[in-house]
Amino acid sequence: MAANMIPKTFKERVEYNIRRFFRRLTFKKFVLGSLAYGWLILMVIIVLTPVLWMVSASFTDATQLGQVPIYPRFSEWSLANYRELFTYKSTDTQLLPDYVESFTTTLQIAVLNTILVVIFSSLVGFSFSRYRFKGKKQVLLSMMALQMFPSFMGMLALFMFFRQFGLLNNPYALTLIYTAGAIPYNTFIVRGFMRNIPKSLDEAASIDGATNLQIMWRIIIPLAVPIMGFIAVNAFMGPWLDYILPSVIMPQRQTVAIWLFRYMNPLSHEYNPIQFMAGALFLAVPIMLVQIYMQRYVVYGLTAGADKG
């Protein structure tokens, strides 16, 4: 086959590429290339080993770490841990198995949190990106500071207030804490996005007699749907893996994170690290898929507060 002929079949193409590769291969390229691949393969091993160990452990019928083989034995795979996960009830009277119940509780929190965070942060972000007003800088500055503190620094007070007003064990009250904590950060993201929507749109609309509300609802919000989707996904995922707040605010109801932590706590009744791996995997897989899908927004989200350098 002549070098300038375009390869047709798949086999030809592979052969062509291999030949081209070796023809262009120099010593320097070879050394640097193998170093690069060696490094990448090493990293992949480091990254995947614990994960694969977790997967293989979750599919055994072991109950202790010592019973998990290092190399997976495919012939002995079992679903015992998953069966246990979806049937175990810590008391006889409850309707749903613990894991399922904690799952539904967290789902409620997550859904409510998503709705509230999207509404509130879009409003605030809109206000901060579109208007000048007295006190704007101060509010922005304090929001910037607020977003750096973990909500649980005020947790003692929250616990007390909630007990005082009978809100302990109430998932919706817990959601309000999440929402309040999430607004500052998300406001910055929305603001960063909305600032890049040209102001000429607003001006044109307001010349045509549109009110503030119409500009916001008809023009800016539809354009900001992508960033609201980003916020929504983040807000939805946040509550699934928060342990500290629910452990204090909801001592008698479980979220998924609390239930998983129980499996890892040597002092609890349900201590079983293998069971943890099954439960964690079941929770992690959907989150992982969403995260990987969302990764292109990450660079944006990371730099949102600092856009335009």
């Binding site: 770490l65 620094m153 007390m160 207030f161 995260q291």
Partner: protein, 564 residues
């Protein structure tokens, strides 16, 4: 006094430079606080001046203000602005109704004061009969006066009395909490009240000038248009106020009390204690020693975990984006897995990996028969100091052995590296794509080598674009509670003889890998410890630190302030 030495070592120069920066920062901070104080004081003086001027120049308008001073909305009503009068009056009524409905003034009036007279002149009127606001403020000031068994107005105090509520014992914790809420609500009300007075005055002034009263419809439209920016942030503001700011305020105030042990309801009170807790933290050598150790480790952890993560992320990004690597997308997807897996889960997974017996790490090592040699290497690095008992398995005790504190710290940083590098890998990959090709072409024309291109184009570009994120990561790691709590739980403990008695008695010692925030958690929420005031003091220190970093970071970001 010595002149700065021109031959000083570079290290000293850098240190001097940093010191000058820090000093400059504090000087300007001091100046701005001073000017703020001046402004507030002058503002107060101006209020009286303005009132005086108002009465002198426009007595009629001033009378409207005076009407609103006594009954909010009345001045507006006389101004024929019913649409303003109604909301102001409504706020006033709500405030009064809440106060009355939660009070028991009615019992005071119906003769209880005579039936149970004050003894020895001791009578806490607002404690006994006040409503939410007055009792709240009373509680905030006093933090309670009476506990179980005290004699008061000829009766003995009990835990809870349903009929004579004043016979119930005080609970400082509740009083402080309600006091903070009352304080915030009262100051909000006072703000509305001041606005109401000013409005009555200025509206009348405007009326005198123009001779027309603004119609209701026009007013509402004007408010809706001009204050739209405020109106849409009010709900968020209220939420943040109640679920973030008030709790922070509460924590802040706790630092100035002596609330150390769990106060059993009604049997003990805690007291305002001024700066004594701060004094304990900074002068008692027992606490200072631990604070120093924890702060040192926190800074080291925050610094190391940010830097290592950044460097590894940079290396990964450069390698994957280099021309030697094909299937870039596949590598990228695999290598960002640690980021995609939720942190809580990975951290607890690593707790299993580094478990003492049968953790993955120990299993692998013993499977390859290298446990002993790895242990020797770690021993020579002074990471492992454990004493192997005869009956022991010889496993390396990664996270729980008091003698292996440094090993646990190393592991935390390494695991954090595993978790954190993909973030920077993605970020830097993104930044690499934004470097204009023309820069490289220009460099080619000048005959630059690959190394030079990297050193003078790629690296500065990346650093410039990611610098703010590095600082954010640093502050994030400074408070990275999860990385410690879910991996090592703060353990291993310090050897028992290294813990000073005062700390041991309070059982408040941190673990060797505790950072400030996880120690605070332990201090506040471990039953039997509950050193609330100490925890609050440390929280304030974190607050100061984080605010300083945030302000510094912001001052670097011009775009943040630029208006458009």
């Amino acid at each position: 006094m010595s002149d700065p030495n021109p031959n000083a070592s570079p290290v000293m120069k850098v240190l001097n430079f940093i010191w000058a920066k820090i000093r400059g920062f504090f000087v300007s901070l001091g100046q701005s606080i001073w000017s703020l104080i001046k402004k507030i004081v002058l503002g107060f003086i101006n209020i009286f001046k303005n009132i005086y001027l108002a009465f002198k120049e426009e007595p009629k308008s001033a009378v409207r203000g005076l009407l609103s001073f006594f009954i909010p909305g009345l001045g507006q009503f006389r101004n024929k602005q019913w649409y303003k009068a109604i909301p102001f009056f409504f706020i006033f009524i709500v405030f009064i109704v809440i106060e009355l409905a939660t009070s028991s003034y009615i019992y005071a009036l119906s003769g209880e004061l005579q039936d149970f007279p004050a003894q020895d002149g001791v009578l806490y009127f607002f404690r006994d009969y006040g409503g939410f606001f007055t009792k709240g403020i009373w509680g905030l000031i006093t933090l309670g006066e009476l506990v179980l068994g005290d004699w008061y107005r000829g009766e003995q105090i009990v835990i809870f009395d349903r009929i004579f509520t004043w016979k119930s014992a005080d609970n400082s914790q509740v009083l402080l909490g309600e006091g903070v809420i009352a304080l915030v609500l009262v100051s909000m009300y006072l703000t509305a009240w001041v606005i109401n007075i000013r409005d009555a005055y200025h509206s009348h002034l405007a009326y005198l000038k123009t001779g027309v009263v603004e119609p209701a419809r026009e007013f509402i439209r004007r408010i809706w248009d001009d204050f739209f920016a405020y109106i849409i942030i009010v709900p968020s503001f209220v939420l943040i106020l109640f679920f973030t700011i008030i709790p922070f305020l509460f924590s802040f105030l706790v630092a100035f009390t002596n609330w150390t042990t769990r106060v059993s309801l009604g049997q003990q009170l805690f007291r305002w204690d001024g700066l004594n807790t701060f004094k304990t933290v900074f002068t008692s050598s027992d606490w200072l020693g631990f604070f120093g150790a924890v702060l040192g480790w926190t800074l080291f952890f925050a610094f190391m975990s940010s830097v290592t993560v950044y460097i590894l992320g940079l290396i990964q990004a450069l390698i994957i984006e280099s021309k030697y690597v094909v299937f870039k997308k596949v590598w990228r997807i695999i290598l960002i897995l640690p980021w995609a897996i939720p942190g809580l889960i990975s951290l607890m997974l690593f707790r299993n990996v580094f478990a003492d017996n049968f953790g993955l790490m120990n299993q692998v090592l013993s499977n390859f028969g290298v446990t002993e040699s790895v242990k020797e290497v770690l021993r020579s690095l002074n990471l492992v100091n454990q004493v192997d008992s005869v009956a022991g398995t010889g496993n390396i005790l990664w996270l729980n052995e008091p003698m292996n504190g440094n090993l646990a710290k190393t592991i935390i940083i390494v695991v954090n590296l595993w978790l954190g590098y993909p973030y920077f890998m993605m970020l830097i990959t993104g930044v690499l794509g934004t470097i204009p090709e023309s820069l490289y072409e220009a460099a080619d024309i000048d005959g630059a080598t690959n190394g030079q291109k990297f050193r003078y184009i790629t690296l500065p570009w990346i650093l410039r674009a990611t610098a703010p994120v590095i600082i954010t990561t640093f502050t994030y790691n400074f408070n990275n509670f999860g990385a410690i709590y879910f991996l090592s739980g703060g353990g291993p403990a310090y050897p028992i003889d290294e813990i000073p008695l005062a700390v041991r008695v309070a059982s408040a010692a941190p673990g060797q890998t505790d950072i400030l925030i996880s120690w605070i958690y332990k201090l506040s929420f471990t039953s039997g410890v509950r050193q609330y005031n100490l925890a609050a003091v440390y929280s304030i220190l974190i607050f100061v630190f984080i605010s300083l970093t945030a302000i510094y970071n912001l001052s670097k970001l011009k775009s943040f302030w630029e208006e458009d």
